[in-house]
């Protein structure tokens, strides 16, 4: 009964009655719970000459980065230092969750498995997640979060900005929208990094520690997998090694304003040559997935 005019609604004895009437049409009344396919009505045909399995694997990588990072940001809610920062982190997490939904949906249509966003987000085990390890680690404090967010958003913005020209029109469209969002995320993190770095001696020390915590996770961001190399050659994806110059330029401007130096620390080692993109994660990933998937695993297929 979404068409009920004001007079119709007034005919009910209570507001709840009008709400329950609405559910009779099969609609869920609670705002934001209509989890319909985010690609509904979008042409998801894989373009000729594009390898569907590779495209699916690639969208899974980029979708997992967004999903896992979004979950970590959501864990800051009710814990952020100020209400305004909490609102900012919630908004950034929401943007990334939206990107994840589109990319996971694209993965399931591209690889021919027809897996839905929910199948992929809630039905896979840790070894099947393809996110970089940067996305999954916990933050020691707010400065640690800012360090991780500037790295993640500067890297991802450079990537999505290039993917606007992808030979896959769905990926190109998701990237074009996402790049606009990431621009705000990167500015937010950069402004906080400068405020903390160029603040008091204590805030500067905490920010330097935050950067030292994130630095070992940075080299992995620029190491291409075979899938990324193949898709870059086909004009569908981007070789992450190409993002390094833009990333370094952004880091140099922001750290210069903050009067901080990029810490000289060793990269987090790969495990038998494997890292996040191969499904090899840090210990913290299992705990994250346990929380992220708990409701879906306890009540498979539940709707409300």
């Amino acid at each position: 009964m979404s068409t009920a005019s004001t007079e119709d609604t007034m005919g009910f004895d209570t507001a709840y009655e009008s709400i329950s009437e609405e559910t009779d049409t099969g609609h869920r009344w609670a705002f934001g719970t209509g989890f319909t396919d985010p690609l509904a009505g979008v042409d998801t045909t894989v373009p000729a000459g594009v390898d569907g399995a590779d495209l699916g694997a690639y969208c899974l990588m980029l979708g997992d980065d967004a999903l896992v990072m979004s979950h970590r940001l959501q864990q800051w809610l009710a814990r952020a230092p100020e209400l305004e920062e909490e609102t900012a982190l919630a908004n950034i997490a929401l943007d990334l969750l939206g990107q994840a939904r589109l990319l996971l949906s694209r993965a399931g249509t591209a690889d021919g498995t027809e897996r839905t966003e929910d199948d992929l987000a809630f039905g896979r085990g840790e070894r099947e997640f393809r996110n970089v390890r940067l996305a999954e680690v916990t933050d020691g404090d707010f400065a640690g979060l800012i360090g991780r967010l500037i790295v993640f958003s500067a890297w991802r913005l450079a990537l999505l900005d290039r993917l606007r020209g992808s030979a896959d029109p769905v990926l190109a469209a998701v990237a074009a929208q996402g790049a606009k969002e990431l621009t705000y995320h990167r500015d937010y993190a950069a402004q906080w990094l400068i405020r903390l770095g160029d603040g008091t001696g204590y805030s500067r020390e905490r920010m330097a520690r935050g950067l030292a915590a994130v630095a070992p996770l940075v080299p992995e961001l620029f190491e291409p997998t075979a899938v990324e190399r193949r898709l870059a050659a086909a004009g569908v994806g981007v070789d992450p090694a190409e993002l390094r110059n833009e990333f370094d330029a952004v880091a140099s401007v922001v750290l210069g304003e903050a009067e901080l130096d990029w810490p000289d620390v060793a990269a987090l080692a790969r495990v038998s040559g494997q890292a996040g993109r191969d499904g090899v994660h840090t210990e913290e990933m299992g705990y994250l997935l346990a929380e992220l998937q708990s409701v879906a695993r306890a009540m498979p297929g539940a709707t409300w």
Partner: protein, 173 residues
């Protein structure tokens, strides 16, 4: 088969109905004001409406799709289809002049025109952006951004130093 004149009339009615649906998060705006109604077409007596999401994670899109379909059905358009169009992405430049007036009247500063994107990497904004957003209450441009994000994905928070009031502003995307 409908005649061409009848088809045009049907399309006009469908535009009025679909375009008149209010945005769930900015209810002073209709979908037409917001500029997310991309296309309406008529085939075999069915209308197909194309909507563009404002942000990747916009939770309002589901409600909008549902409301458009329900209102069209109630107006006699059987089996109306609502599609999502992702490209080109929505921009605040698509908000109509009428929409901008309605936002200001509701105390929300409308978005400014976006500067054309230059070649090269997306530029960083390291300090509070200028030119300042005009206060929707008193019109002063002596305002301050107090937070880069607000209660919905599309807005940020400002304060007017002339009249002292806080206000929201639709961010340019």
């Amino acid at each position: 088969m409908v005649t061409e004149a009848a088809a045009t009339e049907l399309l006009t009615r469908a535009w009025q109905i679909a375009g008149g649906v209010p945005d769930p998060e900015l209810p002073m705006l209709t979908l037409a004001d917001l500029g997310i109604l991309r296309e309406i077409s008529l085939g075999d007596g069915h209308v197909t409406v194309s909507l563009t999401p404002t942000y990747s994670g916009c939770p309002a899109l589901v409600e909008m799709r549902r409301e458009v379909a329900a209102r069209l059905a109630a107006a006699g358009f059987a089996d109306a289809q609502v599609l999502t169009v992702l490209s080109p992405p929505w921009s605040t430049d698509l908000i109509s002049p009428d929409g901008r007036r309605k936002l200001a009247a509701a105390g929300i500063a409308p978005p400014r025109s976006r500067a054309a994107r230059r070649d090269g990497p997306v530029p960083l904004t390291l300090f509070a952006p200028g030119p300042q957003v005009a206060c929707p209450r008193c019109g002063s441009v002596d305002t301050l951004q107090t937070a880069a994000f607000s209660g919905t994905a599309c807005k940020d928070l400002h304060r007017c130093r002339a009249c002292g009031e806080p206000f929201e502003h639709v961010k340019e995307v």
